[in-house]
Symmetry: C2
Subunit: 175 residues, 2 copies
DNA sequence: CAATTAGGTCAGGACGGTTGACATAACACA
DNA sequence: TGTGTTATGTCAACCGTCCTGACCTAATTG
């Protein structure tokens, strides 16, 4: 085992007690941390359920977006997920082999592979979204202005401005 | 290339157009998706800055919590992060070798390794939190009731109930 | 017919996590 | 004193999810 470093006192920034640096109203530690914990638990519900299928988060994301936009082509999926086709490959194959998704040749351009959920795939996706929706609903009930629109606006405001049109496009079905 | 599956019609759950299943008010696709995108962009700011140091999210989390709780011991860090010491090992070593953190033998129990940020480590941590805080601040400004407390309550409500005491403990410095 | 596009695959590597086993130093206690 | 336990670190092997680069087929486009 390597021993603890010998220290010159000025190597340590904050001994013996925490000295908040400059009180800075643009340094909101609590909300930053809460966002981290909130996302962690938000995703944990789904992680547990997916583990039973031997799937991970990558499978979840693919399943989710194919259910949201049935008939999506592979290239669109890659754009949304911002991953390479080499990364998508195994995940997509497993979902198809497990009977959760199917591919159909594009009716006009037969090079395309249109992605559809099977009934089984849709059922799982709905279960997952249901769990996450309940957690969100519960969280909204806990706030003072029980205002879904405010939360929506908050989350939308968290998205990179240049991305917002793209996300709005994804959402156009049902805001 | 493997061809698209030949399909019996009943293999496909949603062709040719999307048929929402049962309209279910506990199935909030838009907020679920927004939460996903919001977190993605929330973390992306920090990812970019950390890349310059050759660090990843694991380093970010360690740096963050050591800055929040200077003098934290390794075991506490493992509890918060919910990872194994084998996972933490290399991350911690790199942060120490890069001069962002230091370890000090515990004053009462010399088996313990108290973790402290260096001034350099603190500076980086503050920079990262600053970027994330600005995004949160901007998002709050975009909502109707510009109410930080509502957002705080929302995020807190997203956390697993059994975890809330622990998170509240972490937050006790400054809610 | 030639070039481009949509999609798939193989190889190799990085990162961040896991489990299991083991080592060391320090503490706790009978 | 000695024995057991605790805090930490490390080695090995593995997995999931991403990456880049190279190459392939089939279909469309010009």
């Amino acid at each position: 085992m390597s021993g603890p470093n010998d220290l010159k006192d000025d190597d340590i920034a904050s001994q013996p007690v925490y000295q908040p640096p400059e009180p800075d109203e643009d340094l909101d530690f609590p909300l930053v941390e809460l966002f981290f914990f909130a996302y962690r638990d938000f995703i944990a519900d789904a992680d547990d359920m997916l583990e039973e299928y031997g799937f991970g988060r990558a499978h979840h994301r693919v399943l989710h977006f194919v259910n949201r936009r049935p008939g999506m082509v592979v290239a669109e999926l890659l754009d949304i997920l911002r991953i390479t086709k080499q990364s998508l490959g195994p995940v997509l194959r497993q979902l198809i082999e497990s009977g959760l998704l199917v591919q159909v040749a594009g009716p006009e351009d037969r090079r395309q592979r249109l992605l559809y959920p099977t009934q089984k795939g849709r059922n799982l996706s709905i279960q997952l979204t249901h769990m996450q929706s309940r957690r969100i609903k519960g969280a909204i009930e806990g706030i003072k202005n029980k205002d879904r629109e405010s939360v929506r606006d908050f989350l939308f405001g968290m998205i990179e401005p240049e991305e917002r049109d793209l996300v709005n496009g994804l959402m156009e079905q049902d805001k």
